[in-house]
């Protein structure tokens, strides 16, 4: 090469970067870019605000229940009673219930904003071609984007879990058992999987449809169908929801009677359940509510038992992630420019 040196920096070298280097460079850029995206920051602040309110209110409730018990104990002790009843079972991690509802809505929106802008912004700015004119493969680019956004969402969920734990200690005045801590961590893990699903959904449509507005519209439609319409159909079809107070209760049937009645409509229940199970939101709610002990029947189970009982819902959360990731690679690797 006869080209004169285009640099006077003695230590300057240009070497083919490795796989890991490229992934981390793209992932870090994704994270920096996300925090400079006004729409993402607004949605993040909404989610953080709602989460803080929900967790603080929940922690205050826990604090009140602990205080009420302690007052009762004091009264009993003042009356000279020695047989103090134990504190009624308290499930402090159930304070996250409202957070689950907010995350199902605002969190999914946040993840979709990330997925949509991750590809669409590159297309609009013409930077996709700039990246691909460097020693970067298409699968490296997509993997880096997925990694960066997955880490970002994981950090977000980790922070929410930490805030919940601290709020329960500081405001609620309770400390969590190791089982409760693991259940809280697992709930945040499920929340991460849930957000990842909607991030990947938006990313997939942005890759598939080059017109940004059409990609966004498709994403929102699919989100509405899977996150709201399917669970709504499932709820509407639920026999027990036909009468206020419960259909089976109005007939005076106990749990066994209810099961016996439902057995006669097995095909109907299968269809209803099948519709609900198409929804990642339903899987997320079912496994999270079980882990947090909001569903009474799981309140006494350990985290391992809950995971065993709710494997179907865990698989239900993982399947769309695997499908959307594979579909995104298939689409992007076949594209040119």
């Amino acid at each position: 090469m006869t080209t004169a040196e285009l640099s006077t920096i003695p230590q300057l070298t240009v070497q083919k970067p490795g796989w890991g280097h490229i992934l981390s460079v793209i992932a870090r850029k994704e994270m920096t870019d996300a925090f400079r995206n006004r729409l993402f920051v607004v949605a993040l602040m909404m989610l953080v605000g709602l989460t803080l309110i929900a967790i603080s209110l929940g922690a205050v409730t826990v604090h009140q229940r602990v205080a009420e018990y302690q007052q009762s104990v004091q009264v009993l002790q003042n009356l000279g009673r020695t047989n103090i009843p134990p504190m009624p079972p308290l499930n402090p991690i159930a304070v996250s219930k409202n957070f689950i509802n907010y995350l199902a809505m605002v969190g999914a929106l946040l993840a979709m904003i990330l997925g949509f802008t991750s590809i669409n912004k590159e297309r609009q700015a013409g930077t996709l071609n700039l990246i691909l004119s460097r020693p970067v493969y298409r699968d490296q680019l997509l993997s880096g984007k997925m990694l960066g956004n997955a880490v970002l969402l994981a950090l977000l969920m980790g922070a929410v879990g930490l805030v919940t734990w601290l709020a329960l200690i500081v405001i609620g005045g309770v400390s969590l058992t190791s089982d409760q801590l693991i259940k809280l961590a697992l709930t945040m893990g499920m929340s991460w999987l849930y957000l990842l699903t909607f991030f990947l959904l938006a990313m997939f449509f942005s890759l598939l449809v080059r017109q940004g507005n059409q990609a966004l519209l498709l994403t929102v439609i699919v989100w509405l169908v899977f996150a709201f319409i399917f669970p709504q159909i499932g709820d509407t079809m639920d026999l027990d929801n036909q009468i206020p107070g419960g259909f089976f209760a109005s007939l005076g049937l106990d749990r066994a009677g209810e099961q016996a009645a439902l057995a006669k409509f097995k095909w109907y229940e299968t269809v209803r359940d099948g519709v609900e199970e198409l929804s990642p939101t339903k899987h997320y709610e079912r496994i999270s509510f079980a882990l947090l002990g909001i569903k009474k029947e799981f309140a006494d189970n350990t985290w391992q038992e809950v995971l065993n009982l709710k494997t179907v819902n865990l698989v239900g959360l993982l399947v769309p992630i695997v499908l959307l990731t594979s579909a995104s690679y298939a689409v992007f690797l076949r594209q040119e420019s």
Partner: protein
């Protein structure tokens, strides 16, 4: 003489439409090559293939001897590419944008290199500005900066002066000539600005409906049409001849 670009029967089809039709071209190292043609003539498709962004339907091409299909990573290490209307990441600063592209190219000592390239362009003070705040001319120069970070041997510029005012056009042109003369960088540029081509380019190629209808040094092209006073007249004459031939 070492060839910077060599193509042989390079063809790209989009379904029934032939965007580039059997392009055979040789551009020696150190040239400033102006690639001319009407809109849709196949100029951008050619650049996209040479920069490995598009696969050819048939034919071959090599950049400094590296095949664009088989050795695309080596090709990418040789080239600097500035697309038309480059916008970069608006929310990041100039330095952050350049840092990102330097890291992707495997440039060591990137912070010093970024300062050096910005000084090369005469604007080290742009470092901390957000790209979204820059004018089109400034962005175009930052686009050029990102292409220079890894010391490329050849620059591919797609309409580098598109949409720029005369001052911006002049600044970019001066920069291209300086990079070529000072560092021997080969330049391959798509352009419609024929006046600039006359000032800048050492050789030109004219595309018409995907076919290369003329490629020669600027001196030879001007000598071939002694009755025409400008490159614009020559270009229009070539286009007219092609229309009548069709």
């Amino acid at each position: 003489m070492r060839m910077a670009i060599e193509t042989f029967n390079l063809t790209r089809r989009y379904e029934d439409n032939v965007a580039v039709d059997n392009l055979t071209l040789r551009v020696p190292q150190g040239e400033i090559f102006g690639f001319l043609g009407h809109n849709g003539a196949g100029k951008t498709t050619t650049i996209s293939m040479l920069t490995t962004l598009l696969l050819p339907t048939s034919g071959t091409a090599a950049i400094f001897g590296h095949d664009i299909r088989q050795e695309n990573l080596q090709v990418r290490q040789h080239i600097g590419y500035v697309p038309e209307n480059v916008r970069l990441y608006n929310d990041l600063t100039v330095a952050e944008n350049l840092q990102f592209f330097a890291a992707l190219s495997g440039v060591s000592a990137a912070p010093q290199r970024i300062i050096e390239v910005l000084e090369l362009l005469g604007h080290p003070e742009w470092r901390g500005l957000r790209v979204g705040e820059l004018s089109k001319g400034m962005r175009q120069r930052i686009g050029l900066a990102q292409a220079l970070l890894h010391r490329p041997s050849i620059l591919f510029l797609d309409e580098p002066a598109s949409g720029l005012d005369p001052e911006g056009t002049r600044a970019i042109s001066d920069l291209i000539v300086w990079l070529n003369e000072e560092f021997g960088i080969t330049v391959f540029m798509n352009t419609h600005q024929l006046a600039e081509v006359t000032k800048l380019c050492t050789s030109i190629g004219i595309m018409n409906h995907g076919r290369l209808v003329m490629a020669d040094t600027l001196k030879n092209v001007l000598a071939r049409f002694p009755d025409h006073h400008s490159l614009e007249e020559i270009y229009l004459e070539v286009e007219r001849q092609e229309r009548s031939r069709a």
